[in-house]
Symmetry: C2
Subunit: 152 residues, 2 copies
DNA sequence: ATTGAAAATGAAAGTCGTTTTCAATTGGCG
DNA sequence: CGCCAATTGAAAACGACTTTCATTTTCAAT
């Protein structure tokens, strides 16, 4: 890791190494705060902004990318050799990955038709995972006030 | 519109009617502020929070849904009979729609495999549109500091 | 090993879109 | 018409993200 940083022109610091290590050990879709907590367990002196900056650096290095599922929290997802999509469970907030190999062709083609030069794909399916689907939730609008979907 | 509101248990107010009308006349991916500006042209007394609340209500009624492209601004997209994906140009921030009929089958199937009950799909392709692709931007990481991707 | 320029850090503050609060107003059923 | 609950508007609160700045640290060149 030290080598990668050097070759890209970044310095290696204890905090940075720790943050990188923690990020890759967590290995799932983490938010800044989740990573911050993890880092803090091992070194409580590391600041929030340092974690944030290094998470950005990880993205800049191409090792991760941001995932926005619309709940206002940015998560960071390790880049994988194969592109993948996400299932986002509205109930338990779980994020599951699934293979999107079968749809990439069509997307690339669509981009081509529009003369659009793609450099990123986000495929997200929202709904309820197998653990949560029994709750039978509906989007019946008549049962609530204009604002009560926030807690849903 | 008045009827739809009534049947769902919401009141019809001049502001609400105006906001709904403006939203559907704009008819594209609008942010709260864009809609607020439009509404203000016709009635400067309408408040920001009223626009926001009614945009939420429009979503709650199933007439629109939120689109998050990761730039921190929530946009609202009229629900269409056919699902569609978005091209998001990193340069000019334009949002273009494209048909995703050809990939829906695979996505539904993927959801089924995971026993996931989908109720929403987001397919977004990021990159550069035909007007912007000549800028030859690269993601060369060595050329900048850890933070300079923000302005990209 | 020492040094100095540039980069990195940490605490705190700033930013900005979103959301809530609350008092006043209004819609609509009885 | 009169009441009650829904709605409104202004302002404040909220919260995640981002920047600032003084201090510390890294690392290449002595």
């Amino acid at each position: 890791m030290k080598e990668l940083l050097r070759t890209k022109g970044f310095k290696s610091t204890p905090q940075r190494e720790l943050i990188f290590d923690c990020f890759f050990s967590l290995g799932k879709h983490v938010s800044v705060d989740e990573l911050y907590q993890k880092v803090r367990e091992l070194d409580p002196s590391v600041g929030h902004s340092t974690v944030w900056r290094n998470l950005k650096l990880i993205c800049l290095l191409g090792l991760a990318e941001e995932v926005n599922i619309g709940d206002g929290i940015t998560r960071y997802d390790r880049t994988t050799p194969k592109p993948h999509g996400h299932f986002f469970c509205r109930s338990c907030k779980k994020l599951l990955e699934f293979d999107v190999g079968s749809v990439m062709g069509a997307l690339v083609e669509a981009a081509h038709e529009f003369e659009f030069e793609p450099d990123g794909y986000k495929i997200e399916i929202q709904g309820y995972c197998s653990d949560c689907r029994q709750d039978g939730r509906t989007n019946d609008v008549a049962t609530g006030s204009a604002n009560d979907e926030r807690k849903a």
